[in-house]
Assembly symmetry: C2
């Protein structure tokens, strides 16, 4: 990939350096660039300071083909991105009559007088053409000079993303048509990141496809990115090679989610689900109900955080006395009871104690119930997420055992 | 503040440059540094690339006093932050026997074999001392050389934030003692950010205290930061002045949370709570159970995502037919029923439809039930969070009406 276009992002604003807002613009643009075949090699956040901004811009222009800035296009004297670009290219800013008309029109539409300092937002340098911003007063700039492109976008995300889609992307597509770029993500569970790396790395020391390994709440993900006419074949081959090493841990790919897969299978077979949880305190129900299709298979959920509330759900005082609340017997009783009471085909339960990180998962179905134990490091804030994913992973396994998949 | 310490942050990870995750570490650290009197002048995000990383590190060290990196301390060959720092200072990394023992112990505690790769995480250079990471396998580094400080922290936010508080801050406080710096945060609800700014800004155009306004899921927060021996008095005065403008919207300050405040009041008066929800799908129960003290007042929660499941909870087919599921009548019936069935002093309900963003909140107590309507912009991802906070805010109001507070 010798001649891949290299880009840098520059986020401008002292509020970012004070931690007052999180820079979601950078995340958005970073996720967009690979889809245009552009490689992002650096992101920098600068304060509202002309000297810093000029220095960062110069460095960025020297070491990349495209520089995209967000922020610093407001009307105040703290907004300095235009000035920095003019300075960099030794050009002078002048008022563009058409931009001035647009700006005055926008103010009069809201029955407001234009404050004098807003006139800045109608300025251009000779190398810049303006980018329309129907959602705000700051137009963007597309600057081409000395073989480099600089794109200036405003900071508010709803203005920036709209302009990216409607103003910037069409020009990029026309100016820099790209070879086919494809990605494939393989999703695993019950395997450590280091173990995935150990198994996968030796086989993927390649430039095309490239390999990335990411720890996510729903497990470790392996992502391949391939470029060129044979990208699709390259991804198929990479996936096949990876599956030879990892298939027992793989549960899905690309946009798959565990609850989505389970939901699809349950809907296909006309089956329903109910949940009861203590350890996760309602998060499992929230995860399931978060997808719209859950209304087709999810009956209801119970959050039973203490022994007293579990008595309504098949857990007798005797059972707790004999086995303890965190036991396979209680997990099983909860799963069976919730299946019956809420008239579902599958009842699933999680019982555990936060400060011990020790849980049991129960699944009840037509052929009885089954339980599993999981041990987490006590007090970790992602234990709930892990417990939910482990539970869904067990349910997925159970559906496979029962031949209740898509096949 | 002429000789203010200058800092730069470097976030390391190709996953950041691909937009796969948002860099919340940078926001966290950026918000923390002013509390130690340190001024952040630039943030840079680098990929897993040794040459880039070295170049960025060199630039950062040259133009600031303290450089803090996050990420790139994992066990894989993509994790290169240690290597870059060693390279920058021309030092050689060697295995530290104590770090190796700690690392092996950590793996054996979880009955896992240590992958050979992981040995990297026990390495140091002569100028580095290690920073303990009880939440993960990657210790941090504190490096001092040539009058500069470089701090290396791991990327996972729960590891990084813990280490910042417990390992880095104590050293910073000792090495770079600062004048007293205090902050105070005032938390509001049911008021817009622009309105807060309009009310607050004219009174706080000062350097000490400085004013910051932040939009958070639980409302708009106003933060004052004051420096010097009279910082505490300055904050008291600022708070008093602000309360004159905003008191009706203020529900708490500093570390207060809405569920925490409500929990304290309920516990004090020996009262209990039960919930039933559809719109939020279990998130309200999860929020409440997330705090340990909830076991003292929270009985149980029901997730009733559809009309069928609501029938078990006092919502008859007739009621739905007559008023619709999203109606004050249904919200009220749910709240009353869940209060009775789960034998709680307060029953709270949320009913609404995601794609309409229209909800009713119900609260049932000894004197009957009350409902409120809320309208959100349909499909916004933070609607569930807003609905939960609105519900807790209403419950807080109700407890105040009933004189069930701490006073």
């Amino acid at each position: 990939m010798e001649n891949t276009l290299q880009a840098q992002l520059i986020s401008v604003g002292t509020e970012l350096l004070r931690g007052e807002i999180t820079d979601t613009n950078a995340t958005f643009l970073a996720s967009q660039l690979p889809l245009s075949g552009i490689k992002l090699n650096r992101m920098t956040t600068a304060g509202d300071n002309l000297k810093d901004l000029c220095q960062i811009l110069r460095q960025a222009v020297e070491s990349s083909d495209i520089v995209i800035t967000t922020g610093g296009l407001g009307p105040t004297q703290d907004d300095l991105t235009r000035e920095a670009v003019a300075d960099l290219f030794h050009e002078t800013m002048t008022i563009d009559p058409q931009l001035e008309r647009n700006l005055r029109e926008m103010f009069s539409r809201f029955n407001r007088e234009m404050p004098p300092h807003n006139i800045k937002q109608a300025m251009l340098i000779p190398s810049a053409k303006s980018l329309r911003n129907p959602r705000g007063t700051a137009p963007g700039w597309w600057v081409e000079k000395q073989g480099k492109v600089i794109v200036l976008l405003p900071g508010p995300p709803r203005e920036m993303t709209f302009m990216w889609q409607n103003e910037v992307l069409p020009i990029i597509k026309q100016r820099f048509p790209v070879k086919s770029i494809l990605t494939r993500t393989i999703k695993t569970f019950f395997i450590q990141e280091a173990k995935v790396a150990e198994l996968a790395h030796p086989f993927f020391q390649t430039d095309n496809p490239t390999l990335g390994i990411y720890a996510k709440p729903d497990g470790i993900q392996i992502r391949f990115l391939a470029v060129g006419d044979n990208a699709s074949r390259l991804l198929d081959e990479a996936e096949k090679k990876l599956m030879e090493k990892l298939s027992t841990y793989v549960w899905g790919k690309d946009d798959d989610t565990l609850d989505g897969i389970i939901g699809t299978w349950l809907i296909k077979h006309g089956l329903t689900l109910a949940t009861i949880e203590d350890f996760t305190g309602g998060s499992l129900a929230a995860l399931i109900t978060n997808s719209k299709s859950s209304s087709q298979y999810y009956h209801a959920g119970i959050v039973a955080p203490n022994d007293r509330s579990k008595i309504n759900w098949g857990v007798t005082a005797e059972l707790v006395a004999k086995f303890g609340t965190v036991s396979p017997e209680v997990a099983s009783a909860m799963a069976i009871h919730v299946k019956q009471e809420l008239e579902a085909d599958f009842g699933i339960s999680i019982t555990g104690i936060d400060k011990e990180g020790h849980i049991y998962i129960g699944i009840a179905d037509r052929s009885g119930s089954k339980t599993w134990q999981q041990q987490y490091q006590a007090g970790r804030p992602d234990n709930h997420e892990r417990a939910m994913m482990a539970t869904l992973f067990r349910l997925r396994d159970r559906l496979i055992e029962l031949n209740l998949t898509n096949e």
